[in-house]
Symmetry: C2
Subunit: 124 residues, 2 copies
């Protein structure tokens, strides 16, 4: 990503304006507000480039297609609502994971995903 184009600006803007991790298709839909001619291929290319540059980061959730969110957030995890399928940021962490690591293994990262019903779906 060496040039500044209106497509890439639009895609970067989407991540500035949306906190939850987004699917490529959602990025396309949102960025088309700025650039209606935007194609999905360009979105994929931009997502890969922006991720390589560290502007956004991939968010892999179990049984979910890969999403992306703005990079540089502080440590957090995600909550997946089983009803509306929305993904929420959870600013907390469980801590004590070190003791889960089997003897002889070395852990360098961990991922926690919570499942359940979000507040909105709960009310209904």
């Amino acid at each position: 990503m060496q040039r500044e184009t209106k497509q890439r600006d639009a895609i970067r803007l989407v991540f500035e304006q949306h906190a939850p991790p987004l699917l490529p298709g959602e990025v396309l839909r949102l960025a088309r507000r700025e650039v209606p001619s935007l194609s999905l291929a360009t979105v994929y290319r931009a997502l890969n480039a922006l991720a390589r540059e560290g502007v956004i980061q991939p968010v892999a959730l179990p049984a979910e297609a890969p999403r992306y969110e703005k990079a540089g957030k502080r440590h957090h995890h995600h909550f997946v609502c089983r009803r509306c399928r929305r993904v929420f940021e959870v600013p907390a962490c469980a801590g004590s994971m070190r003791r889960m690591v089997p003897a002889g293994f070395v852990m360098d990262d961990h991922e926690i995903t919570l499942y359940g019903a979000c507040a909105d779906c709960r009310r209904r």
Copy 2:
């Protein structure tokens, strides 16, 4: 899955003999030892059926294709070795996840995945 066929027996057997979560392709390879003519389509159909029946359960790991393992194991999580890509069972759990749940949300399940180097890869 109402009939007993040699294909399905072979697939069930694979899960009896292999603890770590398996990919469909691995199931095919292993089950072909019993039934060489086995097709991938049959594996997929059997995996879906066995999962529906609760004989096996899907194991969804972030950024990994869905795997399956024998159902009924006690609560555990998984460790993914970044070097050899093998998946290990971790019999422990971090506990204290309740406090991560945002106000108004209800959590009914959680998934923890640890990443790093397994003992074998560590030695090298």
